[in-house]
């Protein structure tokens, strides 16, 4: 029990004793986790917006001449059963003609066209519009549909789908790389802070060892020091992110109203339900790993 309370008491004392080093470590962890938070918000919001856009990226399927409505419905069911498919919409030849008329003559009073109603020029233009859950799976789906007998043509806007996927991946990789570098810097700084603490208390540690203190008894204060630095370093960016996220969302929504139909931000709750535990765990982890690295090298009974 004394080991535990002594660890906490001495750990807190260490932080104040090495004030400047502690501040530097807290600052780096704060910067690291703040960036982590920013990237996390960007990635999840991007994914959210992306998933909404994805469902509007469609594939249009046309059929061979003479393919009956029953066969088309059968193919529709086959496509609907696939995992990556969100929705399949059937446009009959009549609907296609009606849509064409509305588009070509918005006033809708052209008699010539009305006379053609009984001899639909788009008789072979029945189609299926397929909307995806996952734009990344578009190529696979197009291959699958193209291979179905009676399918004449599959129209897909591959470039849109591909650029969405590549941008998502690029953002993920860049953010991972920056976060990993910052994590390494933070661990290095914490291990230095703890090293200074060990040097300051070298005599005390020597005495403890001679008196028969265990590794845990000697190391506990330094682990507590690292953990507290890590936790403070994670609470500061969390508070900053909490305030800034709301303000930025508000600012973008108010000042870029043209984009408001495209940009649907996730609510604060949805972001922080993951960000709070993730940041605290990473902060604590950095603190403990940073101190442990130094301790196993420098404090042995």
């Amino acid at each position: 029990m004394y080991s535990f309370t002594n660890g906490i008491r001495q750990g807190i004392r260490n932080i104040f004793k090495n004030g400047l080093f502690s501040l530097a470590s807290i600052g780096t962890i704060t910067a690291c986790l703040f960036l982590f938070g920013v990237f996390y918000c960007m990635v999840v919001n991007f994914q959210h917006i992306f998933s909404e856009v994805e469902t509007t990226v469609g594939v249009t399927v046309f059929f061979e001449e003479g393919t009956g409505e029953d066969r088309i419905k059968e193919i529709q069911t086959m496509i609907e059963e696939r995992e990556e498919v969100n929705e399949v919409h059937y446009t009959s030849a009549e609907e296609a003609w009606k849509l064409y008329k509305e588009k070509a003559f918005p006033e809708g009073d052209n008699e010539v066209l009305t006379n053609l109603d009984n001899d639909n020029p788009l008789a072979e233009s029945a189609s299926l519009e397929v909307y995806l859950n996952d734009a990344g799976a578009q190529k696979e789906l197009v291959d699958y549909i193209s291979a179905i007998p009676d399918v004449r043509k599959v129209n897909a806007s591959e470039s849109v789908a591909n650029s969405f996927v590549s941008f998502g991946r690029l953002l993920g990789y860049v953010s991972m790389a920056i976060i990993v570098i910052l994590l390494a810097v933070a661990i290095f700084l914490i291990s230095n802070t703890v090293r200074v603490g060990i040097d300051v208390r070298r005599d005390e540690i020597t005495i403890m060892k001679y008196l028969g203190a265990t590794d845990f008894f000697v190391r506990a204060p330094f682990l507590v020091e690292g953990a507290i630095i890590g936790l403070i370093g994670s609470l500061i960016p969390l508070a900053a992110m909490f305030f800034l996220y709301r303000e930025i969302v508000k600012f973008v929504t108010e000042h870029f109203s043209a984009l408001s139909s495209l940009l649907h931000f996730l609510p604060v709750k949805d972001i922080f339900i993951v960000l709070i535990p993730a940041t605290l765990i990473i902060g604590l982890g950095i603190g403990l790993i940073g101190s442990y690295i130094t301790l196993i090298r420098r404090v042995r009974v």
Partner: protein, 230 residues
């Protein structure tokens, strides 16, 4: 109690190897009072550090209470050290803690409950004659008093062995004699006492067993004698 069986220790340095102890065999019985003497570089401190298991011998074995300490696992070392009280020339007291806290610290490390710590600490302070100074910080004490606090800390956990490395090195003759009287008192309670020193005067005064080291070898081992000059 303490047995060194053909123990050698060689340090590897940049300028070649230095043999600090050469095939040393020694046996110290339970309850004995032994001086280990010798000039600087004779191997006294190496012997002291080996007995504390601060380092391993290059060859040979060291037994304490019939246990080969070379075979202790790393996690068994703290428990082994709790059986040895240690006193140093520079006292090694925690400067920012009171006399009471310095001694209590030794008890806290081994998990003695608070209610017993107070009694045990006051008992040893009484033994070393510093019961009135339990609130003082080390800086408020004389050298002799600081060494008495260090002695109190070394014996508060009732270790069967007490090792002292130059305990009078920083003290004047009067304080040195007082510390020696205290060590004798502790020895009479049944504790085995090993004192590493080059203080000829106190060795001659005490008339105890004297093991003389020279250039890493035992050159004499007198059951009851004075400092032997080599």
């Amino acid at each position: 109690m303490i047995v060194l069986d053909h123990v050698s220790k060689t340090y590897q340095g940049n300028q070649g190897s230095i043999q600090a102890l050469k095939d040393v065999s020694l046996s110290i019985d339970k309850g004995e009072f032994v001086f280990v003497v010798g000039l600087s570089g004779s191997g006294k401190t190496t012997l002291f550090r080996l007995l504390l298991k601060e380092m391993e011998p290059t060859s040979g074995n060291i037994f304490m209470n019939n246990k080969n300490i070379g075979k202790l696992r790393r996690d068994q070392i703290p428990k082994f050290r709790r059986g040895i009280g240690v006193v140093f020339q520079d006292f090694k007291l925690l400067k920012n803690r009171t006399v009471f806290e310095n001694i209590a610290f030794a008890q806290r490390i081994i998990g003695v409950p608070n209610r017993r710590i107070k009694k045990n600490v006051m008992d040893v302070l009484k033994l070393v004659g510093l019961q009135d100074k339990y609130r003082a910080k080390p800086s408020e004490l004389s050298g002799g008093e600081q060494q008495r606090v260090a002695l109190a800390r070394a014996i508060v956990n009732n270790p069967p062995v007490l090792l002292a490395d130059e305990p009078t090195g920083n003290l004047d003759p009067t304080n040195s004699t007082e510390i020696m009287k205290l060590l004798e008192k502790i020895n009479k309670r049944g504790t085995t006492v090993v004192v590493v020193t080059h203080n000829t005067k106190i060795v001659d005064e005490m008339q105890k067993r004297v093991v003389n080291l020279n250039q890493g070898e035992i050159v004499s081992d007198e059951k009851k004698g004075g400092y032997v000059y080599v």
